[in-house]
Subunit: 403 residues, 2 copies
Amino acid sequence: MLQGKILVAQGGGPTAVINQSVVGIVLEARKFAGVEAVYGALHGVSGIVNEDFIDLGQETQSNLELVGATPCSGLGSTRDKPDEVYCHEIFKVLQAHEISTFFYIGGNDSSDALRILADEAKAADYALRCIHIPKTIDNDLMVNDHTPGFPSAAKFVASAFAGVNQDNRALQGVYVAVVMGRHAGFLTAASALGRRYPDDGPHLIYLPEREFDMDRFLSEVKETNDKYGRCIVAVSEGIHDSSGTPIVTKLAANVEHDAHGNVQLSGTGALADLLTDQIKEKTGIKRVRGDTFGYLQRSFLGCVSDIDQREAREVGEKGVQFAHAAGRDGTVTIHRVGNYATEYQLTQLEEVAGKTKVMSDDMIAPSGSDVTATFIDYAKPLLGSGMPEASRFQAPRVDKILV
Amino acid sequence: MLQGKILVAQGGGPTAVINQSVVGIVLEARKFAGVEAVYGALHGVSGIVNEDFIDLGQETQSNLELVGATPCSGLGSTRDKPDEVYCHEIFKVLQAHEISTFFYIGGNDSSDALRILADEAKAADYALRCIHIPKTIDNDLMVNDHTPGFPSAAKFVASAFAGVNQDNRALQGVYVAVVMGRHAGFLTAASALGRRYPDDGPHLIYLPEREFDMDRFLSEVKETNDKYGRCIVAVSEGIHDSSGTPIVTKLAANVEHDAHGNVQLSGTGALADLLTDQIKEKTGIKRVRGDTFGYLQRSFLGCVSDIDQREAREVGEKGVQFAHAAGRDGTVTIHRVGNYATEYQLTQLEEVAGKTKVMSDDMIAPSGSDVTATFIDYAKPLLGSGMPEASRFQAPRVDKILV
């Protein structure tokens, strides 16, 4: 039963709809008579140890809706991963403020932080209900059909490639764009969702689920360019060689790690530049351009999937309902039923925490450098309504006179 | 008087609305009884010498509208700049196909190509009406209040910064994004159009209109980061030192030039990486991220200003009407009347061709690293309707108990 004071926080990388989940939690929780207060912790678990709370009971419904429609963690975020000592600091604060239930919105690292916290709470005999609310543009949470944040990021990537496909048709040459995704290629694969005509790009898609071989890459780019007079390539930032070493680290002088031990991949154009330099040098193709989509993929204002907005809101609402009805810790998971509909379940934290889902083999073409219709069928409904389409002139050629 | 066969082509870098101008020309020209045919040349002037024409009289209105709403040159583009020999090749083809009027949609390089063509036509006593239709995301055409393509690109840049501002509030640190713009800083300045709260980024804006000094840059970043705990920087790709040397060329091993003699600035993340490396090294700030917005600025599908769409359509329509009524060559120019309304004029080609407009001093803050209210007032109406706004939680802090 939901009662006392509840706390909500956001962890990890922002998404376009992560605030919808806060709003879902706040609006739903305020309906329960037993709920005394709904607090928000600023900057995730670090805001708890610093006692940085705001009183979300004092938000108007109107402003909550406006923040819900705003991308990126409105409460602030953190990459901190609590250990035992950190957990005890958290308990001290939660106890002082009489928090009964903690909703942590985040990806696999945040769910793992919550799992540690839940375990430590049990060990310390501290009565704390821990509910994880899923989000990640990487779409890499186990059990879930997909995760809130991914559909909007996928719409951004699909829209971007549908646009650069037109740009590249106009000016020709090779275009390489690097897409976020450390271990899971879902977001890079979404580059295919804007294709419409048979010769539309991306013509080649390189995913972290497959080993990246530079020579094969270069020969595939050259072959495509010979065929179409142009070539568009989507590359995951997480591509790695046969030993598992990320391609980008081969270049970077200083490799940066976060608190979870992950190598920093985003926030640099190094991988795109490395690949375009190789193409120029080795294939002789002259016009070669590289982009790195960077932080716009998860934060761009105004590119959002309405399906994603609704589901991100619902996982928050369901989290509160589960906390009230189920009487146990867990993570809210999304399950697809029919085409297209979803339902939500409360799943054990351990089934999701710290684990990574990658693309299944049937979503990746045998060539290793494209996706299959299975992936397209899986991902297309997630883009929601209003995904724009690119159109072409259809007029026939005029007969030549001089030649 | 408009009669015979007319030809339309697109040159230079694509924009989100460049096809609206083609559609405006085609739909308007098809109304004139004297017009026998409306051809499109594929890939600009290069399509003329190659006799690559399509018959735009055989486009349905419905498909024209769909292509109009699609970003990037649907007819294809080119960076070719015709010399005398090239012009004679063009005349040969135009004469064979009995083309009377040529509409060239492009920026200052394309208008200069058209000027050369018009001069050579006169010298060769070839009766050819040449009309330039403006477009450029750089917004750097003389005489024009602004140019079609800029408002949509500005909306993209403003939306991107409004989003990364939320991202950076959530995870802190320094964020640098490089925006297109060789000589004119208008598009980089548009980064300020999404600011809403006093501490919203970008906090610093570096334009090619001002000399870039690395030491001053680093101290301004450090000062801002000390003040807000974070710092967002917008940088034009064209920033240069006191000698006029672009900062990016200080790093690049191979400098690439186009047919107009311009150094290639886009299609690489080198400048952002150079700046973030300097910040990390010299200020000791740990979380420093860099993005280069790249080709998405001019091609992203689904981010368009409705004002821009309408005006890009109208400059095409007006071009046809001027060609019919004025009986002379020229370039269609946009003039602001009132707030906000525009009117169109036919201006002499020489006043626009090959010239570059930059930001006026009253649009740039005395500090040299921000814009003024004059710029905001100038640019904001161009974004049109439906520009999203980012909102924040307003809830008050909860009193601390433990400290």
